[in-house]
Amino acid sequence: MRKALSIGVVLLAAAGSARARPVLVAGVGAGVDVEPSRPNPAQGGSYPSADLAAFSFEGEILWSQLGLLARGVGVDGSIDYQSTGFDRFALTVAGTFRPLAHRLRPDSYARVVASRLAVELGLTYQRILATYNTADNLGLHLGAHADFPLGMPQDDHGVFVRLIVQRPIILIDDTISNGIAPDPFNAGAPSVQVLGVLAVAF
């Protein structure tokens, strides 16, 4: 956590000293959350994996190659996914890096998209709700995203669709009682989340 805060402070300080405002990004969207198979010791075997509806919003401070990202993802799992029976809300703070930003001239749409490919690394906190119980998880965030501008952009500004693939790696895994499983169990993390976000850079 301290390391992430330090990175954030350094990024903000760098922005301040540059005086010019970096690009800000805001976006909202939806997607799918893939929950892994979970053991079911009471009945033997395991619960099947499931695809759940996911919803997201995010903001990003974006410099030429680096960015600082804050993202919230809500997952509705309380009725469709009978083996779990809980809702998950995750807040993520991550640094982003565009490895091709300085290597490609954005003279075609494909090159613009390629130059904006980014990887994400940060921390994630998950608040998980069952009917009468809660859990709090903390972990690492791994992700990547691609930005698809709506029309050929003149600069870094404009509206675009962001396609995100992300996965948390839980370090502190709290237990939860959901009224379905006979005993409390670890809330765990989704296998992967795929999100589409309508975003604007300004």
Binding site: G16, G27, V28, G29, G72, D87, L150, G151, V159, F202
Partner: protein, 377 residues
């Protein structure tokens, strides 16, 4: 299930500040708001974010919004009258919309069309809404007609059994006209019609006066609303006055009247405030009774919103433009935006719900707090 109502109420408060004029005058912006709603046994925290932007070199606006309701209810609100547990749950909602100007068609008058989609998920209620809208400006934009239609597909689940329980379909139609009455005044009148067909009761609510049977209400409901609004700007004092009236009627026999007045005042070049007062009164549905005869009555309800009551809503809002941040490191990035704080209290009459004479320990005042940041693009 309950969240649908609370969210609609809270959203109505905020959207009411702009109403039709705001819907018609779409601007590019990023808007982040946080809402807090508190009533006797329920707390709702709702962050919401909306982006709206124009696709470059087109006259197409695209937008998306996300909101999350984090709700905590005392167990009695969840239908559990034995335990004192707190029920918590999330409701996620995401929406998308597109607005297209028809200027390229060289129509004789300016016109726009739009479409929207709204998807909402919570533990026992799914809702999907698709809609369309068309508006046309007449007489050098002094008159604007707007026609909108939407259809909602709702599914109700039985939370304890985790099974699908029933569905609700809603058709909504509205027609309104905004007319510039003078260089400093505008009037809006409109009519709304909603047709609801399906499961409309609360699946967890029981009716004590009907032998603790589960609530049952009719499947069909036709709802009609007529409204008018007049706004007047007083340039010398930087004041805007608004008066709003709504009349509601449905075929459940429920009539309601809403009167509202608003005062907008520029305090400084960067600060303006809004004061609002709303009075609401309604009768009762034809099947809402103090005691039921289960051998005769077909519908039973204990929903306080279907019984006669009145309410007073008082609201204050301050909006601060952030131009004062110009030149500051980091904070100066937001110099073109503004922040907004709203606080409101809804006083319901003693006949509403479980406050008043029925239970003096419960206060009949619901509180509403909203904080927001808006950044024009």
């Amino acid at each position: 299930m309950r969240l649908q109502l609370i969210a609609a109420w809270a959203a109505g408060l905020v959207c009411a500040s702009g109403g039709l004029a705001r819907a018609q005058d779409v601007t590019q912006q990023v808007d982040v708001h946080g809402f807090y709603y508190k009533e006797t046994s329920t707390r709702v925290v709702q962050p919401r974010m909306e982006v709206l932007a124009q696709i470059p070199r087109t006259s197409t606006l695209v937008g998306a919004e996300y909101s999350l309701d984090a709700i905590s209810s005392a167990s009695i609100a969840a239908g559990n009258r034995v335990s004192d547990n707190i029920l918590t749950e999330y409701r996620n909602q995401v929406g998308a919309r597109v607005v297209q100007s028809l200027n390229r068609l060289r129509l004789p008058v300016p016109a726009r069309v739009g479409a929207n989609y709204l998807r909402s998920r919570e533990s026992d209620y799914d809702s999907d809404t698709v809609g369309g809208q068309a508006s046309v400006d007449l007489f050098e934009r002094n008159t604007t007609w707007t026609l909108a239609y939407s259809h909602s597909f709702d599914t109700v689940y039985d939370r304890p059994r985790r099974t699908r329980r029933d569905s609700l379909d809603t058709d909504f139609l509205s027609l309104s006209v905004a007319q510039l009455l003078s260089p400093t005044s505008v009037g809006v009148v409109g009519f709304e019609y909603a047709y609801l067909n399906g499961f409309q009761q609360n699946p967890y609510r029981t009716v004590a006066t009907a032998g603790n049977l589960n609530e049952v209400v009719p499947l069909i409901r036709n709802r009609y609303t007529a409204f008018g609004r007049v706004a007047k700007l007083l340039p010398a004092s930087g004041t805007t006055l608004q008066a709003i009236y709504r009349f509601y009627h449905d075929d459940w026999g429920l009539n309601a009247n809403t009167l509202e007045g608003r005062l907008y005042q520029d305090v400084t070049p960067n600060l303006d405030v809004r004061l609002a007062y709303r009075y609401y009164t309604q009768g009762h549905a034809y099947f809402a009774k103090a005691r039921y005869d289960t051998r005769v009555d077909q519908a039973y309800t204990s929903d306080p919103k279907l019984f006669a009551f009145d309410s007073h809503y008082i609201e204050g809002q301050a909006r601060l433009h952030l131009s004062g941040l110009h030149g500051l490191q980091f904070w100066g990035w937001f110099e073109n935006g503004f922040v907004e704080a709203t606080f409101g209290v809804l006083y319901s009459g003693s006949t509403f719900g479980n406050c008043g004479p029925l239970d003096p320990t419960h206060e009949c005042a619901d509180k509403f707090l909203a904080l927001g940041l808006t950044l024009p693009l």
